[in-house]
Every structure is written in C-alpha cells, then in structure tokens.
C-alpha cells in the first residue's frame, strides 16, 4: 500500500511485476543503515469495496489478517455495523469498513460507534450517514500528525433513501462516491469498478464518429448486479494479491436494515 504507483522501473530497480512485496526491513533492502526505532504501525493487508445503488449500498471486505508473509487469522472482519442502540448492533443503519493497520481500525471503529451512540443519546434520534461521515473525517484529522493508518469507507442510506458511500484517506480527506475500493488490492479493483459501475470507456455503438460518440448512460445498478460485481472483483483480487483471501464479508444496507453475508474465498 505504501507505494501504489511505484511500478516505475527507474524508481526501484528492474522489475517485472509487483515491486512492493513485503520485506521485513525495507531500508536494509536498499543497503542503507537502519535506525533502530519502534515502529508503531504495521500493514495487515486485506481489501475492501463499497458500491452505492439507487436504494441500497453494499460494503464488502475480505477476512484475511496478515503481517508480512504470515496469515494471522482467516477470519477477522473489517466491515462493521455502526451506531446501533445495542452491543450486537442489530438495529444499526450505518456500515464502516476499515483496512490498513488493524489495531487503528478497531480503535477508530469503536470511537465512531461511541460518537454515534452519544449523538443518539443527546439528540434522541439516530445519526444520519452524512453527519457520521463528517464526524469520521474530523476524527481522522484530529490525529493528523500521528494518523490512524487506515483507509476507511462509510456507507448507508442518505436522507432521501439513496445509497451513500463515503471514502477517506488516512488523515480524513473524504468524498461521497458511487463506488470505492480500498486497501491492498484497491489498485486492482478500482479500474474494474470504474468500468462496470460508472461505465467508464463504454460508448453507445454507432452513436457517432470521433468526439461525437456518446457515452453509455449512467444509471445505478440493481442489487443482484452489484452482488455479482463484488464477487467478481474479489475473485480477481484473490488471484493476484497474496494479502487478500480466505473469506468475503458483505453487508447490504437497505431501508429494511443491514443484511450480512459471508462467502468463502480461496485460502491459498
């Protein structure tokens, strides 16, 4: 994740495919002296994905937890229900996914959940997804100089009942989008989503020559279509990224509440 676009052979020596395979001491690999200092972060791998529909939103994440080449566990969820009235979150309407450093992810999730519960206590109503989105941004920015090393995605239904997906960088910069992939395999999944959700590079055949050609009309996908896309995206990511696999956790947010599904992924 550290070097999303460092595939340039000039920047890190001759290479053919992944240049940022995990190394135990990155500096040593380049023959530099290593300063012995406690590193408060680690990358626990994994990938997440969220897609907004007309009246639903889907958030998915794999369940593998890694560190370097080790698989710590095959089931460690990174998609969570947020802001329910009880500990089991069965009446929650907002979903948060966190990927990156798992301990920071847990801390952030608990803080946001506590903030949502405090909001409910003070205002006597559940927090809207756009309010929670803003609150999450503030939380991340509060730790601007010792950041939560996580790529967060928040999803729910907005005040009009439409699917809403908010994506964040580790220091709280955020944006509402139709879809977003995060984590280790984000660069593998994101172009696929551009193509299949936002219909990028798709045109109407025979609609014109050159610049006159018309783009395919953008409209939100059906839930069945989105579920297939999510599975296909993860099957692709599992095949080509060692930190992604084991299981796929999927949360579907509708006006009826949040459904949770689990599907097995390849465990190799």
């Amino acid at each position: 994740m550290s070097a999303l676009f460092s595939q340039n052979p000039l920047m890190n020596g001759p290479n053919y495919s992944f240049s940022d395979t995990p190394v135990s001491h990155p500096n040593e690999a380049h023959g530099e002296l290593r300063e012995h200092r406690f590193n408060p972060y680690t990358d626990n791998g994994g990938s997440t994905l969220a897609i907004a529909g007309a009246d639903f939103a889907i958030v998915a994440g794999d369940t593998r937890l890694t560190s370097g080449y080790s698989i710590h566990t095959r089931y460690s969820p990174k998609v969570f229900k947020i802001g329910g009235t009880t500990a089991d979150q069965k009446d929650a309407t907002i979903v948060l996914s966190v990927v990156g450093f798992a301990a920071d992810g847990t801390a952030l999730r608990e803080r946001l959940d506590a903030a949502c519960k405090m909001y409910r206590y003070r205002h006597g109503k559940p927090m809207s997804v756009n309010a929670a989105a803003k609150r999450l941004s503030t939380m991340l920015y509060q730790k601007r100089f010792f950041p939560y090393y996580v790529y967060a995605i928040l999803a729910g239904l907005d005040e009009e009942g439409k699917g809403a997906v908010y994506s964040y960088d580790p220091v709280g910069s955020y944006e509402r989008e139709m879809c977003r992939a995060g984590g280790a395999a984000a660069s593998l999944i994101m172009p696929f989503l551009d193509n299949q959700v936002n219909f990028k590079n798709q045109h109407i055949p025979g609609s014109g020559e050159g610049h006159a050609i018309q783009e395919r009309e953008k409209k939100p996908l059906l839930r069945e279509q989105v579920e297939i896309l999510v599975k296909d995206a993860f099957d692709g990511a599992v095949e080509r990224h060692i930190e992604v696999g084991d299981g796929l956790q999927m949360m579907v947010i509708t006006s009826q509440g949040v459904e949770e599904h689990y599907l097995p992924l390849k465990k190799d």
């Binding site: 340039n8 001759p14 290479n15 593998l188 172009p191 590079n201 099957d235």
Partner: protein, 267 residues
Amino acid sequence: MVGKDCVAIACDLRLGLQALTVSNNFPKIFQYGDVLLGLTGLATDVATVSDLFRYKVNMYRLREERNIAPSTFANLVSSSLYERRFGPYFVSPVVAGLDQKTGKPFICGFDSIGCIDFAKDFIVSGTATEQLFGMCESLWEPDMVRLDLDFRTLFPPGIFFYMMILLKNGQLNHDVECSTIMHIICTSDLNFTNASYQSTFATGFDEFFANNLNLLDDLQCPEDLFETISQALLNAVDRDALSGWGAHVYIIEKDKVTKRLLKGRQD
C-alpha cells in the same frame, strides 16, 4: 491476451519522464513477421532492445529461410536478456503470436533479466501492472465469444428468465454473457415475471446450448478479444498517472494482423 484461435497485444502511447509527459505518441509494440513484442521500461532501452531483436529476427530468417516461431522468439528474448545479467536492459518484454504450425495462441512475459513467464491467459507489464492485473483477472475468460446478438430474434424470451435463475444459483458464471443478458433483460419491455415461461423455455435453453457449438463459429471471437483487451487497457491506464494518452491494439489471427488505434483519455 489470449482469445479463441487468436491473440491480442496492446500498449498505451505515453512517454514520460517521471510525472512530466514528454510524448503522447510513443508506441511500445514492435512487429517482427507474425510475432509481436511489447516493451515497457526505460525508453532508450526500449529503442535499443527493439532494434536488437529486429536485427536478430532478420538474421534468423536469413539463416533459417523461415519466419521465427513465437516460442523460439521467446527463448531468444530470454537468452539475450540474460546475457546482460549484471547490467540489464531496464525493460519488461511481452511476446504474443500464433504458432505457425498448430495455430495455437502463444503469449509470455519476462523480467528484465530474461526469466520467462508462460501464461495461458494474459501477461501484463509496465507502470500499471496492478491495475491491469485487476482488469484482466475480472474481464478475461477462456474462449471468449461475442454475444451481442439480439437474442430476442433468435430465441424465445423465456430463455433469459431461465438464465437469470441459473445466474442467481451461481450455476452460470460467464461475466460477458451475464452482463449482456442482464442488460437485455433490464432494457427490454417484455414481462418475464410470468412463471409459466419457466417450464416452457427450460427445454429451449438446453437446446440453445446444444446448438451453441456450431453457433460459436459464426460469433466474432477476435472482436470480443479486441473489446476485452481494449477495456482492460483503457480502464487500467486511466487509474495510473504514468500511463495513458491513447492506445495501440493488435489482434493476431491465423491469416491476418489487425492494428487499431484507440483515442482514450488525453490527460
């Protein structure tokens, strides 16, 4: 990328110096007879290596009095790169071609010192490898055929209904087919909710697949390969700041090589 009885190879056109775009017309694919070579990496080495192989392939043709086969060329690339083991050319080549005798598709990739990666499906290389892996892994499938025919004129509409059931049960997992069929269903004004269709056209669907084999010959395999490789490349380079500015796509069939120029995003 491999298709049914055809292969394709594509490249973007950007030449950059880190973030600075130097040229927007720098093709990275070179044709030697019916073998094609793609080269990414350091531009001077791309030029040197492409000329080196032009020379080597021509010498081969003069000595052997025949064209070089893709697999032979792959070994030539590998040994030539390994000659420079401790001072390598900074390139990651990709080779694509059809075997002259068997007509079987052949593709492979290399690292900068000549380690060959034979693949049955696709090879990617360059600054957008991650994005390309993601795209290819999700769009590619074996023996791609184009199914943009209007099924409504060919088959009873209930077939789509039945296919949807299979799709839901996970019995049908053909991305292109599914999305095409789903699209037709979503855009058609026919009412598929009538359950009586289900039994009536269950047999129709089986017949469809029984008859499908000869239908396959009429379908446009190279066209679908072209669409797949183009979509894979364009969407991948759009998510890479160091690639883009249009593309060249070559489709290699038994008796012809088609080259197409794609415009793509110019930013």
